[in-house]
């Protein structure tokens, strides 16, 4: 069965610093991979999505993620964070076929300090 692991429940970074949020999945093929963000008191919003092509995919608000098949990873990055990036970030995977569903990781709470 497909699964997603976000090993860091909480990450704190200073404003202006770079960011990496980790995501690993379990699936032998190439899945659809997503990063969603949840701002306080809101629903989830899509940041970026990958299925094929350039393994570095650009998203909204300066976020990007890199698909590394050999490592089964899809880490989210940003060069310089802003206080408004404080939110919960979810990695999700869809593997297709009879395994129909979108599986979400448990989320990483990002806090950006001044």
């Amino acid at each position: 069965a497909q699964s997603v692991t976000q090993p860091d429940a909480r990450v704190t970074v200073s404003e202006g610093a770079s960011l990496q949020l980790r995501c690993k999945y379990s699936y032998s093929g190439t899945p659809y991979l997503f990063w969603y963000v949840q701002y306080p008191r809101q629903g989830l919003q899509l940041l970026l999505k990958y299925y094929s092509g350039d393994p570095v995919v650009q998203g909204v608000n300066g976020f990007e993620a890199e698909f590394i098949k050999s490592n089964s990873s899809f880490h989210l990055r940003k060069a310089s964070v802003h206080w408004s990036d404080s939110a919960v970030y979810f990695c999700a995977v869809y593997c297709g076929g009879s395994n129909y569903k979108l599986t979400f990781g448990k989320g990483t709470l990002l806090t950006v300090t001044p």
Partner: protein
């Protein structure tokens, strides 16, 4: 305008109570979903639907019923609410299954006393 709306935004009920959560989407999407979000579990799929009158079971369906009355409207029913159903509930819609972006509502916080 918000394309996925949920009501109520907050609900408190007692154990054994009857609760209906409502979701409406104006995206003209065929697929709609109900999730619950709990600390330490992320989002878990309760039920989903790919059209009016259709209902599919998700990963955590026990204690929940759902009904899709129109393309726009999807309801989640808790007929005998229990404290374990205290959670944040999200509705979402998508154009297709799996690899398509899901659009989420703002959530309903349900407390069962």
């Amino acid at each position: 305008e918000a394309a996925v709306t949920q009501s109520p935004r907050n609900k408190v009920t007692v154990t054994g109570g009857n609760v209906t959560l409502s979701c409406r989407q104006t995206n003209s999407h065929n697929y709609m979903y109900w999730y619950r979000q709990d600390t330490g579990h992320g989002l878990r799929l309760i039920h989903y639907s790919y059209g009016a009158g259709n209902l599919q079971i998700g990963d955590v369906p026990d204690g929940y019923k759902a009904t899709r009355t129109t393309q726009e409207d999807f309801f989640l029913l808790l007929e005998l609410a229990s404290p374990s159903q205290t959670s944040l509930y999200f509705c979402a819609s998508s154009e297709g299954w799996g690899g398509y972006e899901q659009y989420f509502g703002p959530g309903t916080r349900l407390t069962v006393l």
